[in-house]
């Protein structure tokens, strides 16, 4: 959960990027890192294997500015997408304030997307969260590739509850900030409700 410090006037929130292996979670964070002013970001940490597959998590702290005199910080995390890293994924969801599901739009990854959403739901329940109640947005990534499934179909399969969703191409940055902004907004409005 978010951490509010009245003494130093700060609010910290945790956003987790979830999705199947190679869907572009790390690429999302790398793009945000590249495009953020130096004074607004911390170091990006990637705990990855030698072949650059995420092993535990990527971490990117962002200090975007002030709202009503409070410094607002977002800590962005990715999970390792590969199926066998499930134990690590559960750990990273601890204390999450909002989730971005990054779907791989390619036809052959459809099953992996569906499996990953189900895995997300189950792992959240284990941590005491309900996917239908927490801030949640979906990103349909890799829209630039030739073999993509239509957005309508992705929506039907992955977004039955009609949460905000975005088309993206994380390598060029299209849709990356739109997604981040949407989840940040949901989290802050959720905080506003004083939950």
């Amino acid at each position: 959960m978010s951490f509010i410090n009245y003494a130093s006037r700060e609010i910290n929130c945790k956003i987790v990027y979830y999705g199947p292996g190679l869907c572009g979670k790390t690429t999302n964070l790398q793009y945000v890192y590249q495009k953020t002013a130096a004074d607004a970001k911390g170091k990006m940490i990637s705990l990855a294997t030698e072949t650059e597959r995420t092993l535990f998590f990527d971490f990117l702290p962002l200090a975007l500015g002030e709202i009503r005199g409070f410094k607002t910080r977002f800590h962005l995390y990715t999970v390792p997408g590969q199926v066998f890293y499930d134990a690590s994924r559960k750990l990273i969801l601890k204390g999450v304030d909002g989730v971005v599901f990054v779907a791989d739009s390619q036809e052959e990854r459809m099953d992996a997307n569906i499996e990953s959403v189900e895995n997300l739901r189950i792992n959240l329940i284990e941590q005491g969260y309900d996917l239908d109640k927490i801030p949640y947005v979906i990103q349909y990534n890799k829209r630039d590739l030739p073999n993509v499934v239509s957005v309508e179909e992705l929506r039907r399969e992955l977004n039955p509850t009609n949460v905000p969703d975005f088309e993206a191409c994380a390598t060029t940055g299209e849709g990356v900030f739109e997604t981040l902004k949407a989840i940040a907004k949901l989290i802050l409005f959720d905080l506003k409700k004083g939950k």
């Binding site: 951490f3 003494a7 940490i45 702290p61 990273i92 005491g128 981040l180």
Partner: protein, 163 residues
């Protein structure tokens, strides 16, 4: 929710900082950090400017989470103390009040035995402060007196963050 939101107030923040300063002196440590189990830095004292505190907080929490996972696999509740020995500097990491992580960085001017002893004493003090804080959080939530700064937040406020 499994872990209620942590809200820090001035009074407890000062008490926590005082307890850490005392521990820093008594344990002859270089730096001390207090980190939320979710990876957010609560406060620190000593030579903090020499370190990337945000990264340190996130990795410490990841470390605690990973060893906690290991503990469960072998039937333990958690490993409440971790110790990392380096060539010059060492890290003593412990869980306080079940939800915050105390990180003590020390070198040859101190020793593991001394740090363990002082950390144990300081932990009791910190646990008492955090219990008071959590109680205060609960009471404020119940009475609806949250004095929450974001109550009047607007779309524009959020848009401005990204402009």
């Amino acid at each position: 929710m499994s872990n209620p939101q942590l809200i820090m107030y001035d009074e407890e923040f000062k008490q926590i900082n005082a307890a850490l300063e005392k521990l820093l002196r008594e344990a002859n440590a270089k730096v001390i950090f207090l980190v939320d189990k979710n990876g957010q830095l609560i406060t620190g004292c000593g030579e903090t400017e020499r370190f990337d505190t945000t990264s340190l907080a996130s990795l410490t929490a990841g470390n605690i989470a990973a060893t906690g996972g290991l503990a469960k696999l072998i039937g333990e509740k958690e490993f409440s103390i971790l110790f990392h020995e380096g060539e010059k500097d060492n890290l003593h990491i412990s869980i306080v009040a079940g939800r915050v992580i105390l990180v003590v960085l020390f070198d040859t001017r101190s020793s593991l035995g001394l740090v363990r002893l002082r950390v144990k004493k300081a932990s009791e003090e910190l646990t008492a402060i955090f219990n008071r804080l959590l109680q205060k959080n609960e009471e404020k939530e119940k009475s609806g007196d949250s004095e929450f700064p974001f109550a009047e937040i607007t779309d524009d406020d959020i848009d401005n963050l990204f402009s």
